[in-house]
């Protein structure tokens, strides 16, 4: 059906559709069956598929991950969800020492088709342990795939890809994309795992983003266009595998690169990896110094007064582009009537 969907709706519909088709799919996590049903993404699933296939869990992240792995060794296709990525740090042993390696460890006969949705918090005082995006940790581990959808449509495609993938896939699911709307055909599917999405085509500069950062770049489209900046905008979608060839093609064309990375901290980030891989292919590709914008080298603050500067602003983004292009840009930004720490006007806290 073609109509306007929210990302959260798309997740819900997609889960329902796939679970209907394949009764080996099992969905669990803290709160999947509660009145808020993970920001409405797991709504009615338990009612439709029963308590065996859709279940709430104890606060035991490490064991529950292992339990997902165990099921998957016997044909189940588990979908786990964590309301914040930060909670999942308890399960790194299961993820890294078991999920990512089981197949290799036992000679290549035992794949682990688990999908793990990790929600990234932002704003409204989420603070140091409710807003980390550790995508580069997961991307660093051989045997794991990592995707970071940005829109309802890419969420649909990547969620399907992840669930159908025979190996563990981590979905980086930013809290602020849940309410983003897009008109789409809910029953279509296009494989996007391993591929980038070129959202805008141009020749002056390559902008790369993923997940909610992609939305942030959309907000400066008007300014860029009215200033006659012709830009490639790459929505990464798939952090790993990374479509470095497509990225290289773009940077080769523009010679200029800015990456907006909503993962915390610059060290060993996905952005560094992109720059490093491009350099390894050909350092001459860069006509200007590439720029990475990400979160500062410090745990994220809770205070409203600090998050404003902690996160990248549209203005800062534009300034960086000005720096690369050596050109002043007149601002055509929509007046933001919202406080900086909420995704939309419907959000009034607390979670």
């Amino acid at each position: 059906m073609i109509r306007i969907y929210k990302t959260s709706e798309v997740i819900n519909f997609t889960l329902e559709k796939l679970m209907k088709k394949n009764k080996n799919i099992v969905c669990f996590g803290l709160g999947v069956d509660d009145p808020k049903s993970i920001f409405n993404t797991t709504k009615n699933l338990q009612k439709k598929f029963g308590e065996y296939r859709v279940f709430d869990t104890p606060a035991s992240e490490n064991a529950m991950t292992g339990i997902g792995i165990g099921m998957s060794l016997n044909g189940k296709i588990p979908i786990m969800v964590h309301q914040r990525l930060d909670f999942f740090l308890l399960a790194m042993d299961q993820l890294v020492n078991n999920a990512s390696k089981w197949n290799i460890m036992f000679g290549g006969k035992n794949r682990v088709p688990i999908t793990i949705r990790l929600i990234i918090g932002r704003g409204w005082g989420q603070g140091p342990t409710h807003s980390q995006n550790l995508q580069s940790w997961f991307a660093h581990i051989p045997g794991l795939k990592v995707v970071a959808p940005s829109f309802p449509s890419t969420m649909k495609n990547l969620l399907i890809d992840s669930i159908l993938d025979p190996d563990p896939v981590i979905i980086i699911e930013h809290r602020w994309i849940h309410n983003i709307e897009e008109k789409l055909n809910i029953s279509s599917h296009k494989k996007q795992l391993g591929k980038i999405n070129l959202l805008n085509k141009g020749k002056d500069i390559t902008l790369i983003s993923s997940s909610y950062s992609t939305i942030e770049i959309l907000k400066i489209y008007e300014t860029l266009k009215k200033n006659n900046v012709s830009f490639d905008h790459i929505d990464l979608l798939s952090i790993k595998p990374l479509d470095i060839k497509a990225i290289f093609r773009s940077v080769k064309k523009t010679g200029k690169l800015l990456i907006l990375d909503n993962s915390s901290h610059s060290f060993c980030s996905v952005s560094s990896e992109i720059v490093s891989q491009l350099t390894a292919i050909n350092p001459k590709v860069f006509k200007k110094k590439p720029l990475i914008l990400n979160l500062p080298e410090i745990a994220s603050p809770s205070s409203f007064y600090l998050t404003k500067e902690f996160y990248q602003s549209e203005d800062n983004l534009l300034k960086s582009i000005e720096k690369i292009l050596h050109k002043k840009l007149k601002r055509y930004l929509k007046k933001n009537l919202l406080p900086h720490d909420v995704p939309d006007q419907n959000f009034t806290g607390p979670f």
Binding site: D34, P58, A59, L90, W124, P128, I298, S302, P350
Partner: protein
């Protein structure tokens, strides 16, 4: 040592302070100046109020996301707590932490954290650092019923018993983890205190609905010299939503009967009535107490509102070099 009049009055004062502070937060939350998740303790004031009648000032405490009551019951700075929730520089954590990261070094409140159970071993480590201290100080580790589902709780329990650390595990069992009732998370008939006890720790269960009875039972525990780690489970109930300022009974995740059962035994009402009945206080005394505390709370909010926001520069200074 018997429970004295003053103990009862203090108990009431703590409960009243917590209740009114939380309700004030709840009321003002919609002003959107307290922009962080808040886990309020309305309804479950009595347990921490009770234990803090018996803990010494020199004892330590460490807590989790629902820490307001624990913090206030230990006489930590109300002003700094409210300022912290407002995200101001004058907050106990300079606004960096928010409602879930309360600290008061002066009052030996070590901190509170926002990942279920991850303050538990930190409390045990603190206890290790004061092992064999001459003052016989203890570390009170506050936990919720869901804390007892995380592996680290059991690991810590084992270590605490192994090393005989001066720890009091204080578990407020309010039967819910967010919207999840116990039946989703723990087997029927699970008794947390018995589970703890199987690890070799002396364990107590205070299941009284009546706050005064709770106080008396707590008193009994502290009558004897405590020279080993202990575990105390207290049944309690929150009136408001898990996180946020409102009631959420309309969501129907909790039986109406259960809600009634608890709210009919409101700790504030019970303690106030008890003071009057026992003539520990006159109506006038009570009014005075309330008036004073109300003023403190008012002042704390004024302090918070008037405080300066933290400067980003000061935050950035903490980047490691």
């Amino acid at each position: 040592m018997k429970l004295k009049k003053n103990n009862y009055i203090n108990f009431f004062k703590k409960i009243y302070l917590i209740r009114k502070t939380e309700l004030e937060i709840s009321e003002r939350y919609s002003e959107q100046k307290m922009r962080c998740p808040v886990h309020l303790s309305v309804g479950q004031e009595a347990p921490s109020a009770a234990i803090n009648i018996f803990l010494k000032k020199t004892d330590f405490a460490i807590s989790y996301h629902r820490a307001h009551a624990h913090y206030l019951a230990k006489d930590c700075s109300l002003k700094k707590m409210i300022a912290e929730i407002y995200g101001k520089a004058s907050g106990c954590s300079n606004g960096f932490g928010g409602s879930m990261h309360l600290v008061d070094e002066k009052k030996n409140f070590i901190g509170s954290t926002a990942i279920v159970s991850n303050s538990i071993p930190v409390g045990a480590g603190y206890a290790y650092s004061i092992l064999n201290n001459s003052k016989n100080n203890k570390v009170c580790i506050y936990i919720g019923d869901a804390s007892c589902e995380e592996g680290v709780f059991f690991e810590t329990l084992n270590f605490v018993v192994l090393k005989k650390l001066p720890v009091i595990f204080f578990c407020e069992n309010n039967k819910y983890s967010v919207y999840s009732g116990l039946k989703n998370r723990q087997p029927k008939n699970r008794k947390l205190f018995k589970l703890a006890s199987a690890f070799g720790i002396k364990s107590f269960h205070l299941s009284s609905l009546n706050a005064i009875e709770l106080l008396k039972k707590m008193h009994k525990i502290f009558q004897k010299k405590i020279d080993e780690p202990i575990f105390i489970e207290v049944d309690t109930y929150r009136y408001l939503e898990h996180c946020g300022p409102n009631r959420d009974d309309n969501l129907n995740y909790r039986p109406t009967k259960e809600i009634k059962h608890w709210s009919n035994n409101d700790p504030l009402v019970i303690t106030e009535n008890y003071l009057l009945k026992k003539k520990f206080c006159s109506e006038k005394n009570i009014k005075e107490i309330k008036f004073k505390i109300d003023a403190l709370i008012r002042d704390a909010f004024i302090f918070a509102e008037n405080s300066n926001p933290p400067r980003y520069k000061d935050y950035e200074r903490l980047v490691l070099k």
